[in-house]
Symmetry: C2
DNA sequence: ACATGTTGCTGCCGTTTCGGCAACGGCTAT
DNA sequence: ATAGCCGTTGCCGAAACGGCAGCAACATGT
């Protein structure tokens, strides 16, 4: 079922590996064959596709254009294959998901487990990474579905849904703040705080608000792992900040308390976006899971915003 | 610049012509070559792509799926080509437009003339047809942009814009109705009427309204050409119905009068949709023209609805 | 400075694939 | 029945492809 020119496949492999010999190893062919196909391709396009450095190949501008086209072709071929397969009742394939850490604790495992119990022949590849890396993985075709903080997304990605969750403080049950209904940033900063490092998007949400305050904050802990911050907060080390998405288990065990942030009378929102490549049509089984994902996140958004109604 | 398997191109040609020998003539190759490529393709897919009848070849279900994939590939290849070309300053290509007749008198010629005066290397192919044929031409990949009555469009088409224009009666300057500001359907039916045949979408707009009336209408003329109906109305033969889009010249020469229809106090809308294939990214020069088209139609919508403000 | 490893590229040559020609059986229309 | 068109199939030359070995250019490690 490989009815596309070898040039296409070879080019794709070379782009991913950044090397002709590595691509050749990946494809189980001689490097000379790969080299020739690339040269032929460049001749037909009429422009070099790679810049040859001593250590490998880098895409030129034209090369990036071709890479986009080739990705469109190969991903659409995948969809065609799965369409044909689902015609004969076989509903299988692999869904590749890139998401940020806050989904890893509850949302994604729950969803995947539920989906697998219904469609056992659909397998999953999940990759946890930073928000901008999520978008980059989508653009490179390494993931089918991406979930990230809703930054400004490039035009070649499509935002399927946008859900907003309230940012809140996370404290141990014994913490002095734990009995409040909501907290302000000032109140939190009176205690030791577990800050997010800039690689986490929570940093970029809170930094502008903290900068507005004149107070000098308490000496704080900094971390780059949502999970770690959560566990630190559970041990009473300090106040952490995140959405309620990733703390279902620990609040259920009553070790942690989630306190919605109150910023001068209004909530602090953390916008979560679901993304797919814009130029791509998803296979039916992927589209189906995507719908479930959107529905589930919408459900959680509704539940959480009902549990902590607006302050205003 | 043809770096896709011959199988792809051959399959595409066979699908369009419905015959292997005709495709071979089109491609300037022997029919045996085409036949073999199709057989090879069917073997790789693992399922027949065509049903062989005595009169040629018809797509099977799997064949239609592959046709969709192949169209996506070839159209995206076109986009890639034009992207590369525009990189070296050459901004050229062909825009293929399928539209209904009402656009042919003024909107489209004006727009194309204006666009050509700026971008002389962009050429156009325009095809006038019925609304459902417009959608079908888009789906078959025979047109890049489609303008049609906004019916329910299939999911593989994307509605870029939706503009509504008021349906009105068209009468000669000397017609008894000509001095009114608006008319009702009853008032029109008191005179000879030029009816649209069912192949025109105006028929489907007016038919439900006429059916509600109890009166027996005057003996009428029926026609299937917007242009003919307009010219008949200008000669005082009867009352025609259309939007004001297609009658700019004749109203300018003051031969025709346009009277917005008043249906029990509310206007009668004719919804015009602009469509493109959903699974396709347009070349830059096509996208640019598309934007101008949307803008121009929006402008006309605004102007006309300002000239004939709502009745309610 | 030198050796070593890696990079992409290029003749050479066997294998595979492709395309053109002619012919065959099946079908339709006259 | 005859003529015409259809898709398919052997046969064969031509073109494309892939593997092997060797090349120069460059980076790295000693």
């Amino acid at each position: 079922m490989r009815f596309h020119s070898p040039s296409i496949q070879y080019f794709h492999a070379v782009r991913r590996t950044g090397s002709i010999r590595a691509a050749a190893r990946l494809l189980n062919v001689a490097s000379s064959a790969v080299s020739r196909q690339i040269l032929k391709l460049e001749q037909e396009v009429g422009s070099p596709l790679f810049e040859r450095t001593a250590r490998g190949l880098t895409l030129t501008t034209v090369g990036e254009m071709l890479a986009r086209h080739v990705m469109n072709v190969l991903q659409d071929l995948d969809r065609f294959r799965s369409d044909v397969a689902s015609l004969s009742g076989a509903w299988h394939g692999t869904i590749s998901i890139a998401c940020i850490e806050s989904l890893a604790e509850s949302v994604l495992p729950d969803l995947i487990a539920a989906h697998r119990s219904r469609a056992r022949r659909v397998s999953f590849t999940t990759m946890v990474m930073g928000s901008s890396d999520v978008l980059e993985a989508l653009r490179r075709g390494e993931a089918d579905i991406g979930i990230a903080m809703a930054l400004r997304h490039p035009p070649d990605l499509r935002q399927v849904a946008l859900k907003r969750f309230r940012l809140g403080a996370l404290v141990a049950r014994e913490h002095p703040l734990a009995r409040r209904k909501t907290v302000t940033l000032e109140q939190c900063l009176a205690f030791p705080v577990i800050h997010a490092l800039p690689e986490l998007s929570i940093y970029h949400l809170l930094q502008p608000l903290i900068a507005q305050l004149s107070e000098t904050p308490e000496p704080a802990i900094q971390a780059n792992s949502i999970d770690l911050m959560r566990e630190l907060a559970a041990r009473g080390v300090g106040v952490a900040f995140q959405t309620q998405l990733g703390i279902v288990r620990l609040t259920r065990d009553a070790q942690l308390v989630f306190l919605p942030l109150d910023n001068a009378g209004s909530p602090v929102w953390s916008d979560l976006g679901i993304y797919v490549r814009a130029e791509r049509t998803l296979p039916a089984f992927t589209e189906s899971f995507l719908q479930e994902l959107v529905r589930e996140l919408g459900e959680r958004e509704r539940r959480e915003n009902a549990a902590y109604p607006h302050i205003a």
